[in-house]
């Protein structure tokens, strides 16, 4: 059966056998670097196309369908268009910070790729504090956003960046609390061990109702953290034109855009890993025949399937809920989600100590 794990192990052993240790390491670095960059490029193309198609079908229209086969080359054409556009820098801008901001956002998105398990043993860095690493790096993106907003010398940008900052730091707490509940249940911060602990069932099912509450809070919080509708008031088109990237154009704008979609993919991948078992196939108790059929599907397909399911849910939100006002948004976090999250955390702790999860 085709599986990423065997390929990675095969490549690894081949490199280690044919090259001296140092060069084998360098070759592995090169392969991983090329893979990550191409994954980013492909993700950008696929997710933008998916977003446009999903929104089109939700509004009963066709969406992009001219360029390429059924419109699949549309985003490629858009990228080419952005590539030949002039990158403007406004006169009053802080030029250094203005140029630096896309790099910060992009690097923080790239760094988040490290602990994500795509398949069994197919992971860039299986760091033993994976969950802490993710929450640490994901809060770096807000620096880039504030930098972009402040350096643009534009009222819209500044307002958008401040809103975005307040929103991201607020919702980080809820996301952190719901992630913590899974850490309590599995007793490890390492993502591969968290997945291993879901071998006999996903935490969403094993953790009963508290885990479901944590999952719902997680989805709401990551929707807000990635600045997606209904929490997209950082770039509310009707009031702030485009929020913190109003003054950006050309490739710098494309980088912000790409980082946003990459972040959506990453948070959905983390959600799938923590709550839905990552690359673990779906098993039902004692149906051994069913379980064996499920085992035949490779782990990477399970991982991408779950991730894209969550991405679809987040895109679905956009066309279901109207945008919130900033005070409503902060009320929702500080008066509802955070207290509920804390109480839910205590419930999960009691459950974990008593061993009620199975």
């Amino acid at each position: 059966m085709f599986s990423l794990e065997k390929i990675s192990i095969g490549v690894q052993t081949a490199l280690n056998n044919s090259l001296p240790a140092f060069w084998a390491l360098m070759a592995q670095f090169a392969i991983v670097g090329v893979l990550v960059i191409s994954l980013f490029a492909v993700l950008g193309l696929v997710l933008v196309f998916m977003e446009r198609k999903v929104s089109a079908y939700m509004q009963i229209r066709l969406g992009p369908n001219r360029v390429g086969y059924k419109g699949t080359a549309q985003t490629l054409a858009d990228t080419l268009k952005l590539l030949v556009k002039e990158g403007l820098i406004p006169d009053g801008a802080d030029k250094f910070l203005f140029r630096l901001a896309p790099y910060v956002v992009m690097i923080s998105a790239m760094l988040l790729m490290a602990p994500i398990p795509f398949s069994r043993n197919f992971q860039i860095w299986d760091i033993n504090i994976g969950v802490l690493y993710i929450s640490a790096i994901s809060s770096m993106a807000v620096i880039g956003i504030l930098m972009a907003g402040w350096s643009s010398n534009n009222k819209y940008s500044l307002l958008g960046a401040m809103r975005s900052g307040a929103q991201i730091v607020s919702y980080e707490l809820s996301a952190g609390l719901s992630v913590l509940s899974i850490v309590i249940l599995s007793g490890s911060l390492q993502l591969s061990e968290i997945i291993q602990s879901q071998e006999n069932g996903w935490w969403l099912f094993k953790g009963h109702i508290p885990a479901v509450i944590a999952f719902v809070i997680f989805i709401i919080a990551v929707t807000a953290e990635t600045n997606r509708a209904p929490f997209d008031l950082a770039e509310a088109e009707s009031e702030l034109t485009a929020g913190f990237h109003t003054e950006y154009s050309g490739m710098r704008f494309a980088l912000f855009f790409l980082a946003e979609y990459a972040n959506i993919f990453i948070v959905c991948a983390i959600g799938a890993t923590l709550f839905l078992g990552g690359w673990m196939p779906f098993h039902v108790g004692s149906w051994s025949a069913f379980n064996q059929i499920m085992d035949y599907i490779p782990g990477s397909i399970w991982f991408f399937g779950k991730t894209f399911l969550l991405i679809f849910v987040i895109m679905w939100f956009r066309w279901t809920f109207p945008r919130l006002r900033i005070d409503q948004l902060l009320n929702l976090e500080w008066k509802y989600l955070l207290p509920i999250g804390l109480i839910n955390l205590l419930l999960i702790t009691v459950m974990a100590i008593l061993g009620w999860h199975f």
């Binding site: 670095f29 990158g87 690097i107 401040m162 100590i353």
Partner: protein, 141 residues
């Protein structure tokens, strides 16, 4: 890099424990690699676009974009103090979260004492939260 566990099912005799250790050492290096990837990706795109695009300058292009109207006054306007208050509150709770991470890992083994201790911890923080709420820090002006 692709980390390799000894207890892995596909672990054949040809892969030795020493090799697994060596691959594990590359871990922190992958962070440098990813930073380089990010820089290369962004810089590559921007440089390519600079080569491909035509650029010209006129004073109107450099103006601040405000939907066609020339901007009035300074662009770095004063902002609502609420942002600052929420940032302060965030700081308290974020530090709390960081303290909870090591607790969460061991709570299953330690059992009830851990729960009681964290309840005391959360109660003290909750008092601070109530104080902020009473003072109106959570109200958007």
């Amino acid at each position: 890099m692709i980390y390799y566990k000894e207890k892995c099912r596909f672990d054949n005799s040809q892969n030795k424990a020493g090799q697994a250790k060596k691959i594990d050492k590359m871990g922190a290096g992958s962070m440098i690699l990813l930073i380089l990837c990010g820089v290369a990706f962004s810089a590559g795109g921007i440089i390519l676009s600079r080569i491909l695009s035509r650029s010209s300058y006129n004073p109107q292009k450099g103006q601040t974009y405000e939907c066609g109207v020339p901007t009035i006054g300074k662009s770095l306007v004063q902002l609502n103090v609420g942002y600052y208050l929420f940032a302060l509150l965030f700081l308290i709770f974020d530090v709390e979260l960081v303290f909870l991470y090591p607790w969460a890992v061991v709570v299953k083994q330690v059992g009830w004492p851990a729960l009681i201790e964290v309840l005391v911890f959360l109660f003290i923080l909750f008092l601070g939260f109530l104080y902020a709420h009473k003072k109106g820090a959570l109200k958007w002006m």
